[in-house]
C-alpha cells in the first residue's frame, strides 16, 4: 500500500513518456524540419543529432535501470547498510562511471568538432546572395558582375540544386536570425555586423525558413521560401527576375498601375520599369512569380492579395504596411495589376 502512489505514477507516466519518445522517430519529414535534411550540412547536423540522441537514450536507460534496481534493493532491505568496505567498493564504481561519462563526452566533443569542420568549410564557386533582415520580412540581393543583373527580391529565393549558395547577411533594424532547417542551422543577422553562412540543396524542393531571433511584434510571421530547382529552371527564373516588370495589358490593370503610382504604395515599394522606386518594402517587380505574400504568411492568390492590400493590419497586426483604404473597383484593379507582375 505504501508504494501505491509510486506504482500508479509509473503506470501512468511511463507509457505516456515512451509514446512521446517514439513520436521522435515518426513524422520527422516536413518542409521546415531539421530531421529531413536536403543538403550536405543539414545531413551532417542530423547525423550529429542521431548520434547524440542514441548516446543519450542509452545513458538515460542505464541510469533509470540503476535507479529502479536501487529502489528495489532499498525497499526490500530491513535496515540501511553502511559498512565501510562495501562503501569503498561503490566509490570505485562511481569513479568508473565518471570516467566512462568523461570518455563519452570526449567522443561527443570530437564528433562535434568533425561535424563543425565539415559544415563551416568554405565552398567553391558559390552563388552570392546578400540578405537583409528587416522588421518583418527578408530582402535578398543576388550578386552579379553586371549591376543591371543584381536582382532584388523578397521572402523567396531560388537556388540551383547542388550548387553552394553563400549568404552575406546583416540586419537593417534589429537582430534577426536566418534559419532553413532542411538546409542548415541558423545564423544571426545583426546591425553593425556582416555574418555569412552557406547553404546547398541536394534535391529539388521548396524549403521554408523562418526568423529564429525574437524581433518584435511579427516575429512569428517572418518566414521565407527557398526553392531549389534544376540549373535550367533556375536560370530561367533568374533571367525573368532580371527583366523589368510587365506593363499592364488591359484597362483594369492600367487603372491598377495608375492607382499604384498615385496612392501610398509607391512611397515604399519598387517596381522596376515604372517610377515606383521605394526601397523600404518588398520589391514587387515580379510579385506574381512568388508563392507567398506577407513574408510567407499567406498563399499568393487573388483573395489573399486583396485582403492584404485592403487591411494588412488584420492579417499581421503591427506590420509596416498601412491599410490602403482601397475597396471595390480600385482594389480589384490594383490586384489584377499586381497579379500581372509575373
Amino acid at each position: 500500500m505504501k508504494l501505491w502512489g509510486k506504482q500508479k505514477l509509473w503506470r501512468n507516466a511511463l507509457p505516456v513518456i515512451c509514446a512521446a519518445m517514439l513520436t521522435l522517430y515518426s513524422s520527422c519529414a516536413g518542409r521546415q524540419s531539421a530531421l529531413d535534411p536536403a543538403g550536405p550540412q543539414s545531413l551532417r547536423l542530423s547525423r550529429m543529432w542521431w548520434l547524440m540522441f542514441w548516446v543519450c537514450t542509452v545513458v538515460f536507460i542505464l541510469v533509470m535501470a540503476a535507479l529502479c534496481e536501487a529502489l528495489r534493493r532499498a525497499r526490500s532491505r530491513a535496515r540501511p547498510e553502511v559498512e565501510p568496505i562495501a562503501e569503498r567498493k561503490i566509490t570505485k564504481v562511481i569513479a568508473g562511471a565518471l570516467g566512462i561519462s568523461a570518455v563519452i563526452l570526449f567522443i561527443l566533443m570530437i564528433a562535434d568538432f568533425m561535424t563543425g569542420r565539415a559544415v563551416y568549410s568554405q565552398p567553391q564557386n558559390a552563388l552570392q546572395i546578400k540578405v537583409y533582415g528587416r522588421q518583418w520580412w527578408w530582402e535578398f540581393q543576388y550578386g552579379d558582375p553586371q549591376p543591371s543583373r543584381r536582382v532584388t527580391t523578397a521572402n523567396e529565393i531560388h537556388i540551383p540544386v547542388g550548387r553552394p549558395v553563400m549568404l552575406q547577411m546583416t540586419a537593417r533594424d534589429v537582430i534577426h536570425s536566418l534559419w532553413v532547417p532542411n538546409l542548415h542551422g541558423k545564423t544571426d543577422l545583426m546591425p553593425g555586423y556582416q555574418t555569412t553562412m552557406w547553404l546547398q540543396a541536394d534535391r529539388p524542393g521548396t524549403y521554408r525558413g523562418q526568423c529564429a531571433e525574437y524581433c518584435g511584434h511579427q516575429h512569428a510571421h517572418m518566414a521565407f521560401l527557398v526553392v531549389a530547382e534544376s540549373n535550367e529552371q533556375f536560370n530561367a527564373w533568374f533571367e525573368n527576375q532580371c527583366r523589368a516588370a510587365h506593363s499592364p495589358i488591359d484597362a483594369s490593370q492600367q487603372r491598377g498601375q495608375q492607382l499604384f503610382m498615385t496612392r501610398g504604395c509607391v512611397m515604399c515599394h519598387q517596381i522596376r520599369g515604372t517610377n515606383a522606386g521605394g526601397r523600404l518594402a518588398p520589391d514587387l517587380t515580379h510579385l506574381a512569380s512568388r508563392q507567398t505574400i506577407a513574408a510567407g504568411t499567406l498563399q499568393n492568390n487573388h483573395d489573399n492579395l486583396g485582403n492584404w492590400i485592403a487591411d494588412s493590419q488584420h492579417v499581421k497586426p503591427g506590420n509596416r504596411m498601412p491599410p490602403s483604404g482601397l475597396n471595390g473597383e480600385d482594389l480589384q484593379a490594383i490586384v489584377s495589376y499586381l497579379e500581372n507582375l509575373k
Partner: protein, 181 residues
C-alpha cells in the same frame, strides 16, 4: 503576517483602479482611424488669426510613444530628412526651433503635410494614410520638445546629429502670424 492579505488587497485595488486610466503612452495602435482634420484645415490656413482663438483639434497621438516612434520612422522613410534634415532644417525650414511659419498646432502641421506649402513643401494627400500623417505630426512636434519627455523618443540607433527628442528643451512656439501686430 496577518496584515499581509490586507496589504495585498489594498495593492490590487489600487492596481485595478489604475487600469481604468491605463497609460495612453504605451498603447500600440496598429490600425485605428484617427479623425481626418479636413474640417478645420482651410480655416487655420486662411484665417490664422481666428484659428489661434478657436479651440483647436488636438493631435490624436500627442501622448502615444509608439505613434511618435512610428512617426520618426516615417519621417525618415518618406525622406522628410531630405529637406528638413534631422530637424535642423536645410532646404526646408528647421523643425526643432521655436519658429512656426504655418502654426505649431497639430492640425496646422497636419495641413502642411497633407496640402503642402509654397516654396517646396509637397502635398502628401492620398499618398500617406491619416494615421501615418498624425504619427508624423506627433514626431515633428516632439522635435521641438512639444510633447512630454516620457513620450518623446530617445537617441537613434545610428549617427546622432542632434540630441534626442526627449532631451530637447521645450521651445515656446512663435507663429509667424502671431508676431504681426
Amino acid at each position: 503576517m496577518r496584515s499581509l492579505p490586507r496589504i495585498t488587497t489594498a495593492i490590487t485595488i489600487i492596481a485595478s483602479v489604475s487600469v481604468w486610466a491605463a497609460c495612453e503612452r504605451e498603447h500600440r495602435r496598429f490600425d485605428d482611424n484617427p479623425p481626418s482634420a479636413a474640417g478645420n484645415i482651410r480655416q487655420s490656413e486662411l484665417q490664422p488669426g481666428s484659428a489661434q482663438l478657436e479651440a483647436s483639434l488636438p493631435g490624436p497621438y500627442e501622448d502615444n510613444a509608439y505613434a511618435v516612434s512610428e512617426g520618426k520612422r516615417l519621417y525618415g522613410w518618406f525622406n522628410c530628412v531630405g529637406c528638413h534634415s534631422h530637424g535642423g532644417g536645410n532646404i526646408g525650414p528647421p523643425l526643432m526651433d521655436d519658429k512656426w511659419i504655418y502654426g505649431s498646432k497639430p492640425e496646422n502641421i497636419y495641413a502642411t503635410i497633407l496640402e503642402g506649402r509654397p516654396n517646396g513643401m509637397p502635398s502628401f494627400r492620398g499618398k500617406i494614410s491619416d494615421q501615418q500623417t498624425w504619427q508624423i505630426v506627433a514626431y515633428v512636434r516632439s522635435l521641438s520638445g512639444q510633447l512630454s519627455k516620457d513620450v518623446s523618443g530617445g537617441r537613434d540607433d545610428g549617427m546622432n546629429y542632434k540630441p534626442s527628442e526627449q532631451s530637447t528643451k521645450k521651445e515656446q512656439p512663435k507663429s509667424k502670424m502671431a508676431e504681426q501686430p
